[in-house]
């Protein structure tokens, strides 16, 4: 199960609640918790919110035996839910078949997050007819109103084929800035503290840090909260993930591993020295085993796998 993404303060508060509910809390734990709580009014507010979310849910169940009876009812497995959820899940997974999804995607999806799991790339048809593909481990909120169509990219990357609607601009927004379609196919990918936009067809306008710029097909640029980088044709290939490929021109091996990680259930660890190696090429995202093998053949690295779940990459030792 992928848990929803919470704002950082709330997530910390959740972590504290997990710790404090363990039944084996030490005095030191309590002291550290108090220290965290009092360090910032936002921490206090987050703690209260998390506490209330959990306590209020159960308060209405009453007390004593009645409460336990109610709790036992919650363990009743849903008899029909599985079936319905699967029907809906299948319809969404078939996202490439735009017509089918158009028929099956409830408009309620508009109010909900779209998200993808590890190794999962999915196309959604939005009710305005636009197609949105989410890269693996990506999350977006849709905020469509009469005045605009806003896609909030919370994690990962999206590839948008926008249905024209002059009255409602189509915008992909991130924490760092926003990208507005000017009749268009484009991709926006989040990195650690920056984003990369790549234009495949037509034009987009990118806005960040008080700057704005129109990009055309075949161009890409990197932007962060401080502003826009220079347009760079190399970055246009960053959108290749949509076709299942990772295309890099002189990228660091660290960045390549970062791009592969959402497609791999296990962890890939890379030493800083190996991460600095430069890579050029096109690699399949859906077969990370093959990609790691071809990296091993072309670069001076050792790739060690432990049970398939943990892969370690280091510079090849001299004896080889």
């Amino acid at each position: 199960m992928t848990a929803p993404l919470l704002p950082a303060d709330l997530e910390s508060a959740v972590d504290w609640m997990v710790l404090l509910s363990s039944g084996s809390v030490t005095a030191a734990d309590r002291a550290r918790f108090e220290q965290w709580r009092l360090a910032d009014p936002r921490h206090r507010a987050a703690w209260e919110k998390v506490n209330a979310a959990v306590k209020d849910s159960f308060a209405a169940l009453g007390g004593g035996e009645q409460r336990l009876a109610a709790g036992r009812a919650l363990l009743t497995p849903p008899a029909r839910r599985r079936m319905l959820r699967n029907a809906l899940g299948l319809a969404l997974a078939a996202g490439g078949l735009a017509a089918l999804v158009d028929r099956q995607t409830p408009l309620r999806t508009l109010a909900a997050d779209l998200r993808t799991g590890t190794g999962e790339r999915r196309a959604y048809t939005l009710p305005d007819g636009s197609e949105l593909t989410l890269n693996a481990r990506s999350a977006v909120d849709l905020d469509f109103s009469a005045g605009e169509r806003r896609v909030r990219l919370k994690a990962g990357a999206v590839y948008a084929r926008v249905a024209p609607d002059a009255a409602r601009p189509f915008i992909v927004a991130t924490a760092e800035g926003e990208v507005q379609a000017l009749g268009t196919v484009f991709s926006v990918a989040r990195e650690e503290e920056a984003c990369v936009v790549s234009v495949v067809e037509h034009l987009v306008e990118v806005r960040a840090g008080g700057q704005r710029r129109v990009l055309r097909a075949g161009e890409g640029l990197r932007f962060d909260a401080r502003g826009l980088g220079m347009p760079d044709a190399m970055l246009a290939d960053a959108a290749a993930w949509q076709t299942g490929m990772l295309v890099v021109h002189d990228e660091s091996l660290g960045a390549v591993v970062h791009a592969l990680q959402p497609y791999r259930r296990g962890i890939i660890r890379i030493t800083p020295a190996a991460a600095r190696l430069r890579v050029l090429g096109a690699f399949p995202l859906d077969d990370t085993g093959r990609t790691l093998e071809s990296l091993r053949q072309t670069l001076p690295i050792d790739v060690t796998s432990l049970g398939g779940w943990f892969v370690s990459i280091d510079l090849r030792r001299a004896s080889h």
Partner: protein
């Protein structure tokens, strides 16, 4: 840039007029009860109105069916929880007779928690309820559920996160 086909205009009233009896018949085939079908058709249209996006619906019947399935699911799930709750109340040694009204409130609360935890696997649900309702520590829960303490922690984090997320959505 080619001009897109304009979606058909539907006001909620037109939608109701054109499809209400069809939807009611559809629900009736699934429920086998006319009264329930009428109630659920009503609930489905309440959902349509709450969505306030009727003008962009392209396939009204597919759309209504999707919403009606959710309504059906909620209906069945409420019934399941209600039955399970009444069964476990009945099994109590000192059977307290709760009033109709307080029972309805408890079932509402159960639906609320159930919805928040909908995506949680059964073992994670058990973990969270042992912690919240029985006040057990993680070591004890780990033994009862048959998982490691680390997994108990992970389950707890998932469950609490879902409760918080449900509240943020509300």
């Amino acid at each position: 840039m080619s001009p897109s086909a304009q979606p058909t205009e539907h006001s909620a009233a037109e939608l109701y007029e054109a499809h209400h009896s069809w939807l009611q018949a559809w629900l009736r085939r699934r429920l086998g009860c006319r009264h329930d079908a009428a109630d659920l058709a009503h609930d489905t249209f309440v959902r349509v109105l709450a969505g306030r996006q009727t003008e962009t619906i392209r396939e009204p019947r597919a759309f209504l069916t999707t919403l009606a399935q959710r309504t059906l699911f909620t209906f069945w799930r409420r019934r399941e929880l209600e039955r399970a709750y009444l069964d476990s109340l009945g099994a109590l040694p000192s059977a307290t007779v709760a009033s109709e009204e307080s029972r309805a409130l408890v079932i509402e609360a159960l639906m609320h928690i159930d919805r928040a935890l909908q995506r949680l696997p059964l073992k994670a649900r058990q973990t969270f309820l042992y912690s919240q309702l029985d006040g057990l520590g993680y070591a004890e829960i780990a033994v009862r559920v048959g998982v490691s303490v680390i997994t108990v922690r992970r389950y707890m984090k998932q469950a609490i996160t879902l409760c918080v997320a449900a509240r943020l959505d509300a």
